[in-house]
């Protein structure tokens, strides 16, 4: 007699509410345990590492302020992604949209340094939004018009954007006084965002991000258009029957999703660096980390505000253990990857039930 065991996944009819809340928390804990094992393998005490990360990110006023600084671009990109992912449009190119937003704002800041501060900064945010939106529209139109898969195209657009920024800062935009560094010249004071006291928190961007999170939340929750997005994502066939245009929905979604990422890019150049730099200097992968932000928030824009603080904290805490435990800067990727994997699986466990099925087979002689 042989016994066959197979793993079967079946859909739950109604996921219990407690499970919907418990699943992400449990996933997070499991992810931390898995990472702990990796730490143990290389001889690092995981509890010490975790407490160092927590201390680094949230344990001091300075750490806390840096956590907020890093959460700003994550929040903007993440909120935009909740919208795209709800329409089941897999925009994984927020990183590129961010870089183009930064590039467009820089073009304006370098061309009109003498404009009054309020005018110039508002215009920079506007062109950053438009730039990011246009960059996001390319995969959107390719998908809606010719059914070209958006995941690959939006990803490829990241590397095109990143090379474009490199071309500009090593080439035509290189600041003459920067002595060979791949930077543009420093922005004039009119193009620099104000910061909160002694911190690096460029609060206009932060307030904009919070406001946009609320706007997107209201949009999804209470407007007809938000309803269309949800239907398009959950049941494209039903959306078509109801006369909703896929083209229109996807284009509007990507204008917002790409535009928000573009605004994040403006915040980085106008609030942190005061110049355009090589792409890794502008963003250590905020656009990719924002995917985790959106997913952890279960595609809720207000939830993304909270999760962006969490992942911003992880970036700051990751820097802290780099110094105190001698771990490489890549360590933070382990956290990102493991958390994303476990949250993905946890999501599924909330919606589905996994059963080990075993059957006994009688040998037929």
């Amino acid at each position: 007699m042989r016994r066959i065991v197979s793993i079967e996944v079946e859909k739950r009819l109604a996921p219990p509410r407690w499970l919907q809340i418990l699943a992400p928390v449990l996933s997070l804990l499991l992810a931390l345990s898995a990472i702990g094992i990796i730490f143990l393998l290389v001889g690092v005490d995981p509890f010490f590492a975790y407490s160092e990360i927590f201390q680094g990110a949230f344990g001091s006023v300075y750490g806390l302020s840096e956590t907020v600084v890093k959460s700003i671009p994550l929040m903007l990109c993440g909120v935009g992604l909740t919208l795209a992912f709800r329409a089941r449009f897999w925009n994984i190119g927020a990183e590129g949209q961010l870089l183009i937003g930064a590039t467009c704002a820089t073009a304006l800041a370098l061309a009109y340094p003498e404009w009054p501060k309020a005018v110039l900064l508002s215009a920079m945010f506007l062109v950053g939004f438009v730039g990011g939106a246009l960059w996001g529209l390319i995969p959107a139109i390719l998908k809606a018009r010719w059914r070209v898969d958006e995941t690959i195209t939006s990803l490829m657009m990241v590397y095109i954007a990143s090379n474009l920024v490199k071309y500009l800062v090593y080439g035509p935009w290189k600041g003459p006084e920067e002595r060979g560094f791949p930077y543009t010249s420093k922005f004039s004071p009119s193009a620099q965002l104000p910061r909160l006291a002694w911190t690096r928190i460029h609060y206009p961007t932060l307030l904009l991000a919070l406001a946009l999170a609320v706007v997107v939340y209201v949009l999804i929750r209470y407007t007809k258009w938000g309803y269309q997005i949800r239907v398009t994502g959950e049941n494209p066939a039903a959306a078509r029957y109801a006369g909703m245009s896929y083209l229109k929905t996807v284009i509007l979604v990507m204008i917002l999703s790409g535009g928000l990422a573009g605004v994040a890019g403006v915040g980085e150049v106008a609030g942190i660096h005061y110049r355009l730099r090589y792409p890794e200097g502008i963003s250590p992968g905020y656009g990719f980390t924002a995917i985790i932000v959106a997913w952890l928030a279960r595609l809720n824009p207000l939830g993304a505000v909270v999760t962006s603080l969490l992942l911003g904290g992880l970036l700051v805490g990751g820097d802290a253990i780099q110094v105190s435990l001698g771990l490489p800067s890549a360590t933070v990727y382990v956290f990102n990857g493991a958390i994303l994997l476990f949250v993905l699986a946890g999501d599924l466990i909330a919606r589905y039930r996994i059963r080990l099925k075993s059957m006994e087979l009688k040998e037929v002689s």
Binding site: V9, I152, L344
Partner: protein, 313 residues
Amino acid sequence: MREFLLTVFSLSTLQGAVRAGTPLLLGTLGEVYAERSGVLNLGVEGMMIMGSVTAFGVAYTTGNIWLAILLAALAGGLLALIHAFTSITLRVNQVVSGLAITMLGLGVSGILGKRYIGQPPGVRLGAINIPVLSDLPIIGPLFFRYDPMVYISILLVVVLWFVLYRTRWGLSLRSVGESPATADALGVNVVRVRYLAVFFGGMMAGVGGAYLSVVYAPAWIEGMTAGAGWIVIALTIFAMWDPVRALLGAYLFGGVRVLQYRLQDLGVSPPLLNMLPFIFTILVLWMSAGEAMRKHIGAPAALMQPYVREERG
């Protein structure tokens, strides 16, 4: 213009293109198989770099280059099994799962590899020397003076092409990627085929990564794959899911990587040159979007679609 052409078609550029293209080719061959089975694996970058760090570590400790490459394959394969489990068994979003795997690979390789930074390689795989052939003018350096992995990868192109188009296994693989329900009805084990294809893809990515750290560089540098995995994703589409076209594409893209340094003196900006593979990929995707075209070039129809067997009453 003459100078430009002389640089592009110089012997050393062509040789460099083959060497720089080999890790891309290895990764692409694996990804072609994975995607042919219907699973998109965006974890290639992470699997490649795990291969790099494993190979370097094993070569450094044991001095055995082949053991290093073998274990690198295993490291890539193990990471691929996670992706297979999440995307085939759990049926979560393949894109997000692949990205998570890439992050995991970049992070874990960084932690494991810290002790090898700046270390000399334990052993390196050098160019072979075939009597007579290697010494021929032009022909010798162009064809007969590479390291063994270059020849192994070319051999793999032939074998994988043959398996894909001329054997039952290949037929099963293609049918699973084209129409899993039909394949299932014909008695093909969809889940098993997909698992094997994704595992194989991860192994090849691991070997591609190993090539970078024990043959090409040879050294361990954090993040040394530097986006090679993303070029593999692009190349798989550029090659339209075909092993032979993967060879041509890999050497072409490898050539672009080599030329970025050489053409700089002639006023060609490296970043603009580096954009080309990604622009080409979007164009290929766009041109192949039509249904007739898609069938013609062999794009797997069920790519990214998890398979759920309908309950049969």
